[in-house]
């Protein structure tokens, strides 16, 4: 993939990076290109993270901006030990935690009824799919932060190993936590 080769180039470019405050910065244009490619590919996943942590539209925008900035700054350090998606999701989830800490809330301060989902007013046959997605997002927002996070990663299709790496816990713990969280999500969704 084109993106993959971009990141392979980065490791070479990194030798020429200028350091300010210990960070690695490729040339701004290269950094911008990396960011644009990554953002184009994964912005939907980031948007889902944003929506699962924050229910207030104005704050969703702020969180999305925060995450985008963190991704912009971190991309030159991407070492390909994990997939790009895992890397971006870990940044997104970690920024979301910081956001929650800053706003001292779990996205529960507004009613989840306020969440506007694409297709809420869609008259076509895809209405059913959007309704299901809506229930899923609302169900997620009803759960505690720790469960929301592990579910968010699992729903994005990350493996146990990848989830363990993102969270900083063991693979066994992932299994236990995820099973519990799935049950909680099932209950939440079925209660809507």
């Amino acid at each position: 993939m084109a993106l993959q080769s971009n990141f392979q180039q980065t490791s070479t470019i990194r030798h020429y990076e200028l350091g300010i405050f210990g960070e690695n910065i490729t040339s701004m244009n290269e950094q911008e290109r990396l960011f644009n490619d990554a953002w184009r590919q994964h912005h939907s996943a980031v948007a889902r993270v944003v929506q699962s942590y924050e229910a207030i539209p104005a704050l969703q925008e702020e969180l999305q901006q925060d995450i985008a900035f963190a991704i912009w700054r971190s991309l030159p350090r991407f070492n390909q030990k994990s997939s790009l998606k895992t890397y971006i999701l870990s940044i997104a989830h970690n920024r979301a935690i910081s956001h929650v800490a800053k706003h001292v809330r779990e996205g529960k301060s507004t009613s989840t009824e306020d969440v506007v989902l694409k297709g809420d007013d869609c008259p076509s046959g895809s209405l059913e799919a959007h309704r299901k997605q809506g229930r899923l997002v609302k169900g997620m927002q009803m759960l505690p932060l720790a469960q929301r996070q592990i579910l968010g990663l699992a729903l994005e299709g990350l493996s146990y190993d990848e989830i363990a790496e993102v969270l900083g816990i063991t693979v066994n713990n992932v299994g236990v936590r995820l099973n519990r969280a799935k049950k909680a999500l099932k209950q939440a969704v079925e209660s809507i």
Partner: protein, 195 residues
């Protein structure tokens, strides 16, 4: 109406869901430069104080002005230190969620430390201001006061600002204490999620 929940179906629904969030409004390059600019300005201000200090200490200014300058320099120095410390996570992001929780805790503790420092230091500053006012009012000779265009009104205004700053610092400290409690709770919740 409740429906049977299916994990695989939920996974598909989740991945095909594309939330509508507004386009990114701020330019990343500008945000990055702005962050560095703030820290550079911090350092420039600090460096700029050095020639100013030389000027004050070499010219025959009043001792009280010198004392004031030293106090202000200490405030600036510690302010810059905390500014760097609190912004540290912007270029030093922890790589795991657990690390992020610990980092948030560290940041809230730094905030509490900053607030505590501000309250103590500003109180000291306030008392110094008061003592200086008393000195000027009762002990300084009239010629010097006239030369300095000293006004008790300005002095009291300064004192008022210091007192207000103490209250703001107190409020900030309490807010940070609440945030720390919340962050510690979250970490505990995270650590015990599989128990």
């Amino acid at each position: 109406m409740s429906e049977e929940f299916n994990w695989e179906e939920a996974k598909n629904d989740w991945q095909s869901h594309e939330p509508h969030l507004p386009e990114l409004k701020k330019n990343m390059r500008w945000l990055s430069m702005r962050m560095k600019l703030i820290l550079i300005i911090d350092i420039v201000i600090l460096i700029a104080m050095i020639p100013f200090a030389v000027y004050i200490f070499q010219t025959a200014e009043l001792l009280s002005v010198k004392v004031w300058f030293v106090l202000a320099f200490i405030v600036a120095l510690i302010g810059v230190y905390f500014d760097f410390y609190l912004r540290k996570d912007l270029w030093e992001m922890p790589s795991t969620t657990r690390g992020m929780y610990l980092h948030v805790i560290k940041r809230e503790k730094a905030g509490i430390k900053l607030a505590r420092f501000a309250v103590i230091y500003l109180s000291f500053f306030g008392f110094a201001l008061l003592a200086w006012a008393i000195y000027f009012e009762f002990f300084e000779d009239a010629a010097t006061i006239q030369k300095m265009e000293y006004s008790i009104f300005h002095h009291m205004l300064g004192l008022l600002v210091v007192v207000a700053s103490v209250f703001v610092s107190k409020w900030y400290g309490n807010r940070k204490r609440r945030a720390l409690k919340e962050a510690e709770l979250r970490l505990k919740e995270f650590d015990t999620a599989d128990l």
